[in-house]
């Protein structure tokens, strides 16, 4: 396979983690909650999925891949949605500051992931010793026949099902936000909660649900990273900047899920570009790694200059809503 093909493959692999994170954050932000806990929720989802698969495989002599996959997915969804629930309770019910809560959730989630990931490693006998071969294999199963087509198979059909599921979720989310009543209501909540409230929309319920579902989608990103990308093992702090990149991607995509698809591939490509450019010194590598952030800053500047209302963040992003507030 040519280097270019490998680069494109890796680009897509990198992009999928970001795409999950960005989708989760888009639905969250559309409800007016700026959840900076994305990295934390990814760790929570990843480690919970891994733990589920690990415990299942250790409890039975002949683990069945699809059972392991189901357990892992369920565990990841529940655990990362729980992260979203913590955030929701603090910011919606107790009206805590959203930025502080989000950052705290990231700190908590990363620690949670490293603690349980480390514990699992210890149970398995050492760092990198966790083996969930059957489940991970299940996650990495590719579509038969299609995979074998030259070039096209490598480029489009060499991935596990979570890759395609990310695209499906993106399209579903886009349809939900812009073509359904519930989506319209959710956008109204994020734009102007008082208006939504006066229109008879249950603001609290929408915010809770959007944030928890958003958390669960972020958790799928973590699950993909652990079970597919890392082949079902754990390394502490291995997620790197991916959580933050996902949040940057939301801005880049201007809160549109479909824009996040190509954005995620762009970011994924830029994120690993330094590995494919020969002769880069260590310091230049760091500059290359920062490219996605430069792109995001550029997009921020452009959208601020153009001032199109449709490209701006949800108007009440970051603000708590309290009906009897007098101002």
């Amino acid at each position: 396979m040519s280097t270019l093909l490998i680069f494109l493959q890796k680009t897509i692999t990198q992009g999928i983690v970001l795409l999950y994170g960005a989708n989760g954050e888009i639905i969250t932000e559309k409800s007016g909650n700026l959840n900076l806990g994305v990295p934390g929720m990814m760790y929570m989802g990843g480690v919970a999925g891994l733990a589920g698969a690990f415990l299942y495989e250790n409890s039975t002599a002949n683990p069945i891949p699809w059972v392991g996959v189901l357990i892992a997915i369920l565990a990841a969804l529940l655990c990362s949605a729980f992260g979203g629930l913590i955030y929701s309770f603090l910011t919606i019910t107790l009206r805590a500051n959203q930025n502080v809560t989000g950052l705290a959730l990231t700190t908590f989630g990363v620690g949670f992931g490293n603690f349980f990931g480390g514990s699992l490693s210890k149970l398995a006998g050492g760092v990198g010793q966790i083996s969930t071969a059957a489940t991970s294999g299940g996650f990495r199963t590719t579509i038969p026949f299609l995979r074998d087509i030259p070039v096209v198979g490598d480029l489009f059909f060499s991935y596990g099902f979570l890759t395609y599921f990310a695209l499906i979720i993106t399209l579903l989310l886009s349809w939900f936000l812009f073509k359904t009543r519930l989506g319209l209501n959710l956008r109204a909540v994020g734009e102007n909660a008082a208006t939504a409230d006066a229109a008879g929309i249950n603001v609290t319920r929408y915010k809770y649900l959007a944030t928890c579902i958003g958390g669960a989608i972020c958790g799928l990103g973590g699950l993909y990273f652990v079970m597919d990308y890392s082949s079902g093992t754990w390394m502490n702090d291995s997620f790197g900047d991916r959580g933050w990149l996902a949040i940057a991607l939301v801005i880049f995509a201007r809160w549109r899920p479909t824009q996040a698809i190509w954005g995620s591939f762009l970011f994924g490509g830029l994120y690993i570009l330094y590995l494919y450019i020969p002769g880069l010194t260590r310091d230049m590598q760091e500059v290359f790694k920062a490219l996605p952030y430069f792109v995001t800053i550029f997009v921020l500047i452009m959208t601020s200059l153009r001032k199109r209302r449709e490209d701006q963040p949800p108007a009440s992003l970051g603000l708590a809503y309290f009906r009897e507030d007098r101002n």
């Binding site: 009543r181 319209l184 109204a188 208006t195 006066a198 229109a199 108007a315 101002n327």
Partner: protein, 514 residues
């Protein structure tokens, strides 16, 4: 046979902390009638209505709809009961279209069919004679268009009871007429309409009955046909007030400020002030009249150094009668020059005061530079705030209570109090009594006259011609950014000024043909 009221409120009480907003209020509205809820600012009209629309929950009292006792816990409950409220600050989502706003939160099929929705709404708007573009985004609309969207939104939701909170405060006279005719249409089709206002002539021309609130208490309800401006005012303020505004003779009359041929351009490049010239004299009140948006705001801001001037000059005469050029100066530079110029802007909580800070903090906005140590001096502003609160009878729990929580009149007293405390030689006020009740308004007129008597030159932008004609020595009329005339406040008539207010475009045209 007595008709059954559509809404009946009995003994409703609502408190915010220590403040009692409504105390034991009774109110009833019948089908097919327009009821005005009249009261001074801070008399609890909006709070009372918010309890019907589910924004606030009453602490005590009962609410009946069509004779049945109901509990309204949320706006959703209110909708179910057919109550729709149009707030002073519109409850619309800016980035959505009119149609999307109208169907917001309504039940229906999961997927949205905007074409069908739009057709449904159009059928409704035709029936009442509304004129709106449903596919337009809210942020592209004018205030009156937004209000139309709000009303259609309520009707589309099947509201039988429509509550409007000071709907005409933001409308031009023509738009007001249009609104009133739509409201009358709605009344004739059997709906109940509650309108909150403090404009007496609107009460008299529109409503069938009037309920009056004073300081959160229910005073009484009268048939509009049997009421007069005088009798309603009495109910509202509790004591007889003379509607005459005092106007002392101007003193001194030396030139304080000379504005020569000033022009301004707005952000879109349109000229908003065109060759404006006038002189402001000491010891007089110069009124500035005009239809809203004729350049009043820009004129005051240009003088205050907030608006860049493209042509002309602004000259101030200081204590030694020396000329000082203010044309290109920023606000800070003007102050550094020792020019005693005070400005009470139209947007009190946006430009004038910081809502989240207490009275002391707001006094400091003027004085934070004074003093020599690195620490700010809070004592002087605090005593100044206390003095203003005492002398101007500002109602507030304490000097440190956020001014944003005060009622409009009290906010204005704090702002005007602060601005006149520096004993200005030129005082500019924009819409000083907008949103204020009669008592507060008179306090403000009195304060302006005090300044005039002490020799200040007062510039007062106003909207109520009766007030301007009673208060001002001279009235400058702006129309489409041009000065169309400066008349004597003692001899001019309302018709004369009204005519000048519409002649700006003609003045423009004349100049272009020259």
């Amino acid at each position: 046979m007595e008709k059954q009221p559509m809404i009946e409120m009995r003994g409703v009480t609502k408190r915010f902390g220590k403040v009692v907003a409504n105390e034991n209020v009774d109110l009833s509205v019948y089908p097919g009638e327009i009821l005005s809820v009249l009261g001074e600012n801070g008399s609890g009209k909006t709070t009372l209505m918010n309890m019907l629309s589910g924004i606030y929950f009453p602490d005590e009292g009962r609410i009946f709809i069509n004779g049945k006792e109901v509990v309204i816990r949320s706006p959703k409950d209110a909708f179910v009961l057919g109550i729709g409220m149009i707030h002073q600050h519109f409850k619309l989502v800016d980035v959505l279209t009119a149609a999307e706003n109208i169907i917001l939160g309504l039940p229906g099929a999961l997927t949205l069919d905007m074409k069908k929705v739009t057709a449904d709404i159009l059928a409704l708007t035709k029936r009442y004679g509304f004129d709106i573009d449903l596919n337009r985004k809210i942020y592209e609309m004018s205030v009156s268009q937004k209000q139309t969207v709000e009303i259609v939104k309520m009707l589309y939701r099947g509201a039988n009871i429509l509550i409007l909170d000071e709907p005409t405060a933001v409308l031009t006279p023509q738009e007001t007429d249009k609104l009133f005719s739509v409201l009358r249409n709605m009344r004739d089709s059997g709906k109940s309409i509650l309108i909150i206002t403090h404009k007496l002539h609107e009460v008299l021309s529109l409503s069938d009955r009037v309920s009056v609130l004073r300081k959160g208490k229910y005073i009484g309800t009268v048939q509009t046909a049997e009421a007069t401006e005088m009798s309603l005012t009495e109910m509202m303020v509790g004591k007889k007030v003379t509607l005459d505004i005092e106007r002392p003779e101007p003193i001194g009359s030396e030139v304080r400020m000379e504005v020569k041929g000033v022009s301004c351009v707005n952000r879109e490049g349109r000229e908003v002030l065109h060759q404006v010239s006038f002189t402001a004299k000491s010891g007089e009140i110069l009124g500035i009249a005009g239809i809203a948006g004729s350049g009043q705001k820009q004129l005051l801001e240009a003088i205050a150094g907030l608006q860049p001037v493209t042509a002309g000059s602004i000259i101030y005469f200081d204590e030694q009668n020396q000329q000082r050029e203010l044309t290109k100066c920023s606000t800070a530079e003007i102050r550094m020059m020792g020019v005693r110029l005070s400005f009470v802007p139209e947007d009190r909580l946006g430009m004038g005061l910081v809502g989240a800070m207490g009275s002391t903090g707001n006094m400091m906005l003027r004085t934070y530079r004074s003093g020599s140590s690195v620490f700010t001096d809070r004592k002087t502003p605090r005593s100044m705030a206390e003095k203003i609160i005492k002398e101007l009878e500002v109602v507030t729990p304490s000097v440190e209570a956020p001014v944003g929580r005060m009622s409009g009149g009290n906010v204005q007293k704090v702002l005007v109090g602060r601005e006149i405390a520096s004993s200005p030689r030129v005082l500019m006020v924009a819409y000083p009594v907008r949103g204020l009740d009669i008592n507060s308004s008179y306090t403000i007129y009195h304060l302006l006259n005090e300044q005039k008597k002490s020799g200040a030159s007062v510039l007062c932008v106003g909207e109520d011609l009766d007030v301007l004609l009673a208060l001002c020595d001279r009235i400058l009329v702006l129309s489409a950014g041009c000065v169309t005339g400066i008349v004597d406040g003692r001899t001019a008539t309302k018709e004369e000024v009204g005519l000048l207010m519409t002649q700006g475009d003609r003045a423009h045209a004349k100049e272009e043909t020259k």
